[in-house]
Structures are given as structure tokens and as C-alpha cells.
Symmetry: C2
Subunit: 201 residues, 2 copies
DNA sequence: ATTTTTTTCTATAGCTGAATAGAATCTCGT
DNA sequence: ACGAGATTCTATTCAGCTATAGAAAAAAAT
């Protein structure tokens, strides 16, 4: 019934597949809209068999969110730590965000939209990681301001949220249009955040 | 059972209250997460009585979305039609978006997050209005570019989506923090979109 | 080849929620 | 105060969903 030491190759492979399947379904129908039946079906399993991999539907949601965040956050930590000039870091942040959207779009979308359906307890770990991201970004702006690389009229808190907003907005484009050139989008996005829309004065 | 000519004062009042209640619950728990029981309870009604005002839960969702979009879209039409310079129009757009968030935050959030749970048929009308908004914004940028008020390196489609993204991102801030000064945020946001984050060269 | 462990299936319990019908109550003009 | 229409309630149906237990099958180990 319950896997005691489930570390076989097959187990890990199927577990990953299960997380991915859950991500797809949650992204498509939402947490409450997608049933364990739907997820199992996509894996070619029967509904009950899912519980060999997850002990509850909520656990599945949590794992999807963690999966979506993983590399995304790791990359952010690395970027924040580096000594590159502000412009380069901002470029890296946008790249990280938008390429994540292309690669793991479902899982990341699930984190963005469905995390609030997790029970308090499970949400804590995720919440920490989410705000960690915002804080790193905010700090990046503060440092940039101190170094004269960013206008001092900029409010770091506001700016961080704006960057996240733009990237999520553009993520919609990436999801909607598979053909879209990510790197072109990244370039335009960074340019906008750096120099705005006004012609040179 | 079903209201034939339900145009009494009371009916309209209660119906509006019902739409609002649904908005609140959908915003809080999501479409599938909120039950008709929850909504009825918030209105001080019994579960079954809701169906005097809505013929289905999905109809309720649709009405909430329409309610959330209404003034928001009307304002956008007016802005797009005007002859003001680009900067003024952008300011108006941001103002419209962010103040809507404060005033009807729930309904607008529901439109943003839950509309995809509507069945194809119902989603059409909403989809039209949503893309109408994007198109108006996009056209605004195109006009700005033609008039030399916006850099010609800007891609209007991309720019429109970016504006929507920033505003939705900042909307999160407004929802999270009731105290936040909307107009300060509007100012900063417009400034960012116009001039970016870099110091003057 | 037989035993052991892992993985999947069948079947079902138990709950919740959407929707409907018809009765009961309320409201208001007359 | 009476009656017609509006509004709400009660009670119920029906479907779908999560989760569990235990049998079956598949894979691995001996």
C-alpha cells in the first residue's frame, strides 16, 4: 500500500511523471476543478493508484508548486549573489523568469494561481520561498540605487513587484503562443524596464 | 420559482448583493472552492434560494466577471477615443486599472483568475471584452509611435501586455495592503513605464 | 522456481455539493 | 384586510469526488 523505502528507479520516474501530470491538470482546470481521476487518467493509471505516490490531493499540489519554484528560485539566489552590474542582473532575472515559464509553465502557473488553496500548514514553506524571491529582487534594486545604477526616485518595493508583474503578464503571451521567441521577449522586456517607452530626449 | 418579470426594486438590490457576495467568495476560495452554500450564507439566505437569482453557478461566475469588467472597459473606451497626448492617456489607463482594483477588487480578480472555468459558450463574450481591452491599448501604443511620442523600437503588442502585467502585479499589492496610497502607486507606475529605471544619461 | 517486494487494480465507504420541486411566507397595491 | 405576485424555505435527488482496504499482478531478489 504505502511505499516504505520507495527509491527504485521506476518509482522516481513515475513520481516525477505524476507531479507533471498533476501540474498540467491543475493548470488547466484549477485545483478544485481537476479531479484525481483526471490526473490518474493522464498517467494511464486508475484513480486509486495515485495514492501510491501522493498521500493526498493537497500533497500533490504542494509538490507541484515546489517543483515549479525549484530552479527558478535557485537561479535567483545565484543572480542576487553575483557582482555583475545592475543591468546584467536585471537581464538575468527576466531571463530566468520567462524561460521558466516556457519550460515549466504549468507548474509555475499552478504556484501563482492555486497556492492559496493549500492549507495554512503547507502554505508556509511556499510562502517563504515566494517572499524570498521578492526580497532578493527588492534588495537588488536597493543595491542598484545605492550604486547610482538606478534612479534614486525608484521605490525598490514597488519596482520589484512591477518586474514580477510584467514577467507574469508576458508569461501569458508565452503560454498563449508557443511560437513566440522567448529571447526577443526577454530583450524587449529588459529594455522597457531600463529605459521605458519614451523617445530619447 | 423562476422570476418572470423580476424588476422590482428589491429584486435588483438583492441581485446586486448576490453578485457581490459571489465575487467575494469566488475571489477568496476560487470558483470550485466556493460552494453555493457559502454564497447563500453570506447573503443570509438558504442554499436553494440562490437559484432564484442565478440559474446556475456558472451563470453567477459569468455575471461576476461582467460586473468586474464593466466600468473598467467603459473607461478604456473613453480613454482610447480621446485626443490627449500619449503620456496623459497612459496615465489614465494606469489609473483606471489600479483604481478598479481597489474598488471592485474581488470581481476583477475573479475575472482575471477564474474566467477560464467558464464553459466555452459563456466565455466568448468575456473573451471579446478582454481582447477588446488589449487591442485598444495596443492601438494606443501604435498611435503613440506614429506620432513620435513613443520610441519606434517599441513593439505595441508586447507593450500592451506589459502594461496589463504591471498593473495586475501592482494590483496584488493593493489587495495585500489596504493602506497603500493608490495614487502614489499610479504615479510611480506611469513614471516607470515612461522612463524606466535608469538614471538620466 | 519460489519467495519477497513493488506497483497497480477493484470495489466501496462516506461525504459534499449543485440543482429542482413544491410548499410556505412575505409584500404591496387596492 | 384580501389576494396576487414576489421571495424564501424545506426537503430531496443525483452525481462526483477523495480516500482506504485488500486483492491481484508485475518485477526483483534469492
Amino acid at each position: 500500500m504505502k511505499p516504505k523505502a520507495p527509491d527504485s528507479r521506476k518509482y522516481r520516474r513515475q513520481k516525477l511523471a505524476a507531479v507533471r501530470a498533476a501540474a498540467t491538470l491543475f493548470a488547466e482546470k484549477g485545483f478544485h476543478g481537476a479531479s484525481t481521476q483526471d490526473i490518474a487518467q493522464r498517467l494511464g493509471l486508475k484513480q486509486g493508484s495515485l495514492y501510491y505516490y501522493f498521500s493526498s490531493k493537497e500533497e500533490a499540489l504542494e509538490e507541484v508548486c515546489l517543483y515549479g519554484l525549484q530552479t527558478y528560485l535557485d537561479n535567483m539566489e545565484a543572480i542576487a549573489k553575483s557582482d555583475e552590474p545592475f543591468q546584467a542582473k536585471l537581464f538575468a532575472v527576466v531571463t530566468n523568469h520567462l524561460t521558466s515559464y516556457r519550460e515549466k509553465s504549468e507548474a509555475l502557473k499552478v504556484f501563482n494561481d492555486e497556492r492559496l488553496y493549500l492549507p495554512q500548514a503547507r502554505r508556509v514553506r511556499l510562502k517563504e520561498r515566494g517572499s524570498r524571491y521578492r526580497q532578493l529582487l527588492e534588495a537588488m534594486f536597493s543595491v542598484g540605487i545605492a550604486a547610482g545604477e538606478v534612479k534614486d526616485s525608484i521605490d525598490a518595493h514597488f519596482a520589484a513587484q512591477s518586474v514580477i508583474g510584467v514577467c507574469n503578464g508576458l508569461g501569458e503571451l508565452l503560454i498563449r503562443d508557443e511560437e513566440l521567441d522567448v529571447f526577443d521577449l526577454i530583450r524587449k522586456c529588459t529594455e522597457l524596464l531600463l529605459h521605458g517607452t519614451q523617445p530619447a530626449r
